[in-house]
Amino acid sequence: MSLLNIFSRRGSAPVARERLQLIIAHERADHGRSDLVVILREEILAVIAKHVAIEPDKVQIKVERGEGVSTLGLDIELPLPAAARLTAARTETAAKAKQAVAA
């Protein structure tokens, strides 16, 4: 019996266990991520589209997993007229809010 055999007498189960834990951690992350990102993307798109005309492919959503925290990054490219309206709308709401407070 070789030295290797003596060591491997622990059996192959621990190796199976380690491999499984790795595969499953990866797969859970993949599935969890893709599902959540798809849902978030659709819902965020719907909210924005109610107010501004945007092109769906100009919206990027990224989830990045770090050590302690994960971040959700949102990158939306607005068409020029919409961008202008967006700033206009903001001043208008601000004005309305002021009026409401005054009343």
Partner: protein, 271 residues
Amino acid sequence: MSKVLVVTSGKGGVGKTTTTAALGAAIAQSGSSVCVVDFDVGLRNLDLVMGAERRVVYDLINVVNGDAKLAQALIRDKRLDKLALLPASQTRDKDALTDAGVARVMEELREKFDWVICDSPAGIERGATLAMRHADMAVVVTNPEVSSVRDSDRIIGLLDSKTIKAEKGETLEKHLILTRYDPNRADRGDMLKVEDVLEILSIPLLAIIPESEEVLRASNVGCPVTLNNPLSAPARAYADAVRRLQGEAVPMSVPSDRKSFLGKFFTRRAA
């Protein structure tokens, strides 16, 4: 209140059909009425394991399509009058099952039986999701082996997302049956440990079913193992599973087929 239970696994050939038949017969023996339903359209097997293959006239698809009444398709077991089978068809296309049709049939089954046990096809596609769709609880059948545990993890993900219960935001009760467990291989350290599988899948253990030739013997004669040889190790393990499903606290063990001391000595040597 009737219970719909799906027996599922992802991976094929791990023991779903064996488990469906064994649990069905054991529940019927305990006095509750049960219908076992074969969702494995195109590869029907449950009728064979139950020994009812020659009595199949109508099947699940006929009932779903409205070509036959449920009562016409149900096959009452000859040994246990509380046990019935709704067979699958051998030839037809599985796309023949419509969502609405299946929903109607499941509702009708709920009215007639205390327990409805759905034998899922392998895989993670429509056949498997249709079998689990209406379930109140699931038995995930797993072998102590890397690919089986991995597929079980995928199936657990589907149980938590594709079932009506999950969609309503309710929790679906899930239980693990670890089957084809071989104590000799476990002793040698060549099989995933029960604790390892439980830690990875993190669902409660319902039973450990030992690898046993009694399972093959039972399927040869077309009789659920719990009925064919109730004293055999797998039958006792399945009977304990049923008692646990019914709320009894039964200590967990791995039953073994009793062998003489000499017999044990020789099998150990041979291993």
